[in-house]
C-alpha cells in the first residue's frame, strides 16, 4: 500500500507539473463571423490617447452618450494601455471573444489583416461608414496591404516632431530649433551640463526605438525590408542609422545614460521639467500639459535631417503614425459597428477628438480648418510632404519587436559604459534578423 501511495503521489505531482508547465497555449477553432444578433449594444476597445486611461474615459464618455442618444445603441467602453493592446487583440482573435469595434496601431494593419481577425471593409461596408474618399490617401495607405481589402479606417493621424524647451534654448544662447542632426548635436552639447541634458530618448521602449530606426534609416537611403518583403536589418545603412540614434547616449552624450531604462514616458517628464532641452515625440501637447508645462513654453519643429539639401527618401523625417479604427470579425452587431465607425469618423467628432488629443484628423474635411496650434501646423506639413509609412508587410510587428529590443540592449551597453561600435550594432541587428527565420 505504501509503495502504491508513493507511486500515486509521484504520478499526481508529475501530472500537475506538466499542467503547470504548459499553462500557456490553448486556443479554439472559431467559426462564424459577423452577425447582427445583438443590435442594441457594442463593446469598444479604445487605445490610450490621452494623458491617462481616466482622461480617455472622460473624453470619450460624452461622445458615446451622444451616439447612444442618436442610435439607441449602448457602447461599453474599455480603454486599454498600449502595452497590453496587441496581446488583448490576439487573445480575442484566437478565442473569438472580443470587442465589436477597436482601435489598432496603424502599423499592425497588415499583420492583423493576415490573421483574419478584423472585418474586411469592402465597398459595401465602406459605403456604410461614409466612403473611402473622405480620408487623406497617405493615412488610408496604412490600413492593410496594398491591393487587398482594407481592414480599418484611419482615426487619428500623427507624426513625429522635434519639441524644444524655449527657456533652456534662450539660456544656452541657441537661436532656433536645429534643422540638421549636426546642428542638433551641437545644440545638445550646449544644453548638456549640471545634470541637465540636450535630448531625452525613450531608450527602454522597443516600439519607440524601432520608429526612430525606420526614419534614420530612410535618411541613410536604407530600408529594413527589401522590395520582396525580406528583412535586411543589418545592411550598412541601417547599421549607421541605428548607431546614430544610440550615439545620442553612447557617443555624443547629449542624452542621459538613465534614458536607457525609460519606457514609461519618463522622457516627456524630463523634457517638461527642463531636465532635457529637446524631445522627439508625437503629439506631445496633452502629455506636456499634464506634466506641468504651459502652452508657449515649448516650440515645435520638424524632426531634423542629415543635410538640408537632401531630397526624396533621404528627406523623410517621420513615419506616418496613427491609430486606425477596425471592426472585429466576430462582432454580434455588424451594422451597429459600422454605424459607430461612421460616427467616430464624422467631421464633427474628428475635430473634437483630434483637438483634444493633439493629433491630426485623417478626414480631409476636418483638415480644412485652420490649424489650432503650432503642433498641428508642423504635423500637417510633415504628414503631407515628408513622412513615409512603416513597411506594410505582415512581419512588420516582428521588426518593431526585434530591432527595438536590439536597440534597447545597445542603450543598456552604452549606459554600462561599454562602447557601441558599428561592429556591435551590426552584430545585434544580424541576430535580430536571424530571429525572423522566415
Amino acid at each position: 500500500m505504501r509503495r502504491f501511495r508513493t507511486a500515486a503521489a509521484a504520478a499526481l505531482t508529475t501530472a500537475l507539473t506538466v499542467a503547470l508547465a504548459t499553462g500557456c497555449g490553448g486556443g479554439t477553432t472559431t467559426g462564424g463571423g459577423a452577425s447582427n444578433s445583438k443590435p442594441k449594444e457594442l463593446t469598444y476597445w479604445a487605445s490610450n490617447q490621452g494623458s491617462s486611461l481616466e482622461h480617455d474615459k472622460k473624453v470619450l464618455g460624452p461622445e458615446l452618450e451622444k451616439f447612444e442618444k442618436r442610435t439607441g445603441i449602448k457602447v461599453k467602453l474599455e480603454v486599454i494601455p498600449w502595452s497590453n493592446l496587441l496581446d488583448r487583440i490576439l487573445a480575442a482573435a484566437s478565442s473569438g471573444e472580443g470587442p465589436d469595434v477597436l482601435n489598432i496601431g496603424n502599423t499592425w494593419s497588415s499583420s492583423l489583416q493576415k490573421s483574419g481577425a478584423l472585418l474586411p471593409l469592402d465597398d459595401e461596408a465602406l459605403a456604410k461608414t461614409g466612403g473611402k474618399k473622405r480620408f487623406s490617401p497617405s493615412a488610408f495607405a496604412a490600413t492593410g496591404q496594398r491591393g487587398e481589402t482594407p481592414v480599418a479606417v484611419p482615426l487619428y493621424s500623427l507624426t513625429y516632431a522635434l519639441y524644444y524647451h524655449k527657456k533652456r534654448f534662450e539660456q544656452a544662447g541657441i537661436d532656433g530649433p536645429p534643422k540638421t542632426w549636426k546642428e542638433l548635436v551641437a545644440a545638445g552639447k550646449k544644453l548638456t551640463g549640471d545634470g541637465r541634458y540636450g535630448l531625452a530618448v525613450e531608450g527602454g521602449d522597443p516600439v519607440e526605438n524601432s520608429h526612430h530606426a525606420f526614419v534614420f534609416a530612410k535618411q541613410h537611403g536604407s530600408d529594413f525590408f527589401d522590395a520582396k518583403g525580406n528583412p535586411t536589418f543589418d545592411s550598412p545603412g541601417n547599421v549607421k542609422a541605428v548607431k546614430q540614434y544610440v550615439d545620442f547616449v553612447a557617443g555624443d552624450r547629449i542624452a542621459a545614460k538613465g534614458n536607457a531604462e525609460y519606457a514609461a514616458r519618463q522622457s516627456v517628464r524630463d523634457f517638461a521639467k527642463g531636465k532635457a532641452g529637446m524631445l522627439l515625440w508625437q503629439a506631445a501637447r496633452s502629455q506636456l500639459l499634464a506634466n506641468g508645462m504651459k502652452d508657449g513654453e515649448w516650440g515645435v519643429a520638424p524632426v531634423p535631417v542629415r543635410s538640408a539639401s537632401d531630397g526624396g527618401q533621404r528627406a523623410v523625417n517621420s513615419m506616418v503614425a496613427g491609430i486606425n479604427l477596425a471592426v472585429f470579425k466576430d462582432t454580434d452587431n455588424r451594422d451597429g459597428a459600422l454605424e459607430f465607425v461612421k460616427f467616430m469618423t464624422s467631421t464633427a467628432e474628428q475635430k473634437k477628438l483630434n483637438d483634444t488629443y493633439g493629433s491630426i484628423s485623417p478626414v480631409l474635411r476636418a483638415q480644412q480648418a485652420p490649424p489650432r496650434d503650432e503642433d498641428e501646423k508642423v504635423m500637417r506639413a510633415v504628414l503631407a510632404d515628408s513622412s513615409a509609412p512603416l513597411p506594410q508587410v505582415p512581419d512588420e510587428s516582428k521588426f518593431e519587436t526585434l530591432v527595438g529590443t536590439a536597440m534597447k540592449e545597445l542603450f543598456a551597453d552604452a549606459a554600462a559604459g561599454r562602447s557601441v561600435t558599428e561592429e556591435s550594432v551590426r552584430q545585434r541587428l544580424g541576430e535580430a534578423q536571424q530571429k525572423m527565420r522566415k
Binding site: 505504501r2 508513493t6 503521489a9 509521484a10 505531482t13 508529475t14 501530472a15 500537475l16 507539473t17 506538466v18 499542467a19 503547470l20 508547465a21 504548459t22 499553462g23 500557456c24 497555449g25 490553448g26 486556443g27 477553432t29 472559431t30 467559426g31 502595452s83 496581446d87 490576439l90 482573435a93 484566437s94 473569438g96 499583420s111 492583423l112 493576415k114 490573421s115 483574419g116 481577425a117 527602454g204 522597443p206 542621459a256 545614460k257 538613465g258 536607457a260 531604462e261 519606457a263 470579425k329 505582415p394 510587428s397 516582428k398 519587436t401 526585434l402 527595438g404 529590443t405 534597447k408 540592449e409 543598456a412 551597453d413 549606459a415 554600462a416 541576430e431 536571424q434 530571429k435 527565420r437
Partner: protein, 308 residues
C-alpha cells in the same frame, strides 16, 4: 445484499467521489496542455490564429530550430535556460534559507512574535502586480529609493547603478523573487516545526547538545518531509515564474535576466510565431518532468530505509 457487492460499493465510493475533480482536471489542465503540444508541431503564425486547426503541420521543424544551438534562436534559448537555472538555484536556495532561519528563530514564544510573523507574511499576501510594480519604482536608476540609499545617503557607489537594464538586473530579479517567495517557505516550515515535540529538545539538551547540534540533529531531520515537498514546489514556481520578470522589466527583459518563461513569451506572442513558442514550452515541460521524476525517485529511495 451480498457482502461482495457491498465491498465493491465501498471500494468504489472514493473513486466515484473523485470523478468531478478528474473531469475538471481534464478540462482545466489536460486539454490546454494537449492543445499546446499539438501546436508545437504546427507552423502557427498570425495567419492562422483564428482557426489554428488549419495551420500546416511543421513536423519537428519548430523543435529543430529551438535546439539548433549554433543559430541565434537556439543559442538565445540555451542562454536563457542557463540564466533561468542559475536564477532558480539562487532564488530557491535563499528563500529556503531565509524561511528556515526565520521559522527557527520564531519557534520559541516571545513578546511580539505574532506581530512579527504577520509582518513576515505580508509579501506573500500582497497582490503580485502591485508588489512588483512598487519594486520597479524602488529600483529605478533616477529617483529610485534603492539608489537614493546606496548612492545619495550611504555613498557606497560612485555612480548610481542601473537595476532594470544591464547586468545588475539579474541581481534585482533574484532579490525581488526571494522577497516574494520566502514567506511561503517560512509559513510551511513554521507549521512543520509545531509537530516537533518539545521533550525531544529537552532530552537533547540534557544530553549536552547545543543549539547548532539541536538544529542539525533534531530540527532538520524532523523537517525533512516538509522540505522535500517545499523545495520541489519552490523550484517549479520559481523556474516558471512569469509575473515577476514581466512586471519588473516589461516585454523584453534585459539579456542578463532573460528568464525562460518571458523568453518564450517573446518568441511567440511578441513575434507572432506561436508554433515556435509552443515547441519551446514543450521542451521546458520535458525538462521539468525529468527533473521532477528524478527528484521524486531520489528522495523516495533515500527515505525508504528510514520509513521501515
Amino acid at each position: 445484499m451480498s457482502t461482495r457487492t457491498e465491498r465493491i460499493r465501498r471500494a468504489g465510493m472514493p473513486y466515484l467521489l473523485l470523478v468531478p475533480a478528474l473531469v475538471l482536471e481534464l478540462i482545466v489542465h489536460i486539454a490546454p496542455m494537449v492543445t499546446g503540444i499539438v501546436m508545437a508541431f504546427k507552423d502557427l503564425t498570425q495567419e492562422y490564429i483564428r482557426n489554428w486547426g488549419s495551420a500546416p503541420w511543421a513536423g519537428l521543424g519548430n523543435f529543430r530550430i529551438a535546439v539548433d544551438f549554433d543559430a541565434p534562436v537556439g543559442e538565445a534559448l540555451l542562454r536563457s535556460f542557463g540564466i533561468t537555472c542559475a536564477f532558480t538555484v539562487l532564488a530557491v536556495g535563499l528563500a529556503w534559507l531565509l524561511g528556515v532561519t526565520a521559522a527557527i528563530l520564531m519557534q520559541d514564544a516571545f513578546r511580539g512574535r505574532a506581530a512579527l510573523r504577520a509582518l513576515f507574511l505580508t509579501p506573500y499576501a500582497l497582490p503580485v502586480y502591485a508588489a512588483v510594480i512598487t519594486w520597479s519604482f524602488l529600483l529605478q536608476r533616477e529617483g529610485g529609493l534603492v539608489n537614493h540609499v546606496l548612492h545619495d545617503q550611504l555613498g557606497l557607489v560612485d555612480e548610481p547603478p542601473f537595476w532594470l537594464v544591464g547586468d545588475n538586473s539579474f541581481l534585482a530579479l533574484v532579490v525581488v523573487s526571494v522577497w516574494r517567495t520566502w514567506p511561503f517557505a517560512f509559513l510551511m516550515l513554521t507549521a512543520a516545526l509545531q509537530n516537533i515535540p518539545r521533550d525531544v529538545y529537552e532530552a537533547s539538551a540534557l544530553d549536552g547538545a547545543g543549539i547548532w547540534r539541536q538544529i542539525r540533529h533534531v530540527t532538520l531531520p524532523a523537517l525533512r518531509p516538509v522540505n522535500m515537498v517545499l523545495l520541489l514546489v519552490l523550484f517549479l514556481w520559481t523556474f516558471n515564474d512569469f509575473n515577476v520578470p514581466f512586471v519588473l522589466f516589461g516585454k523584453s527583459a534585459p539579456e542578463s535576466a532573460d528568464l525562460i518563461s518571458l523568453h518564450i513569451y517573446q518568441s511567440s506572442f511578441a513575434t507572432w510565431d506561436f508554433g515556435a513558442g509552443s515547441a519551446m514550452s514543450v521542451l521546458l515541460l520535458l525538462f521539468l518532468l525529468v527533473v521532477t521524476a528524478c527528484y521524486l525517485l531520489l528522495t523516495r529511495e533515500r527515505s525508504r530505509p528510514r520509513g521501515r
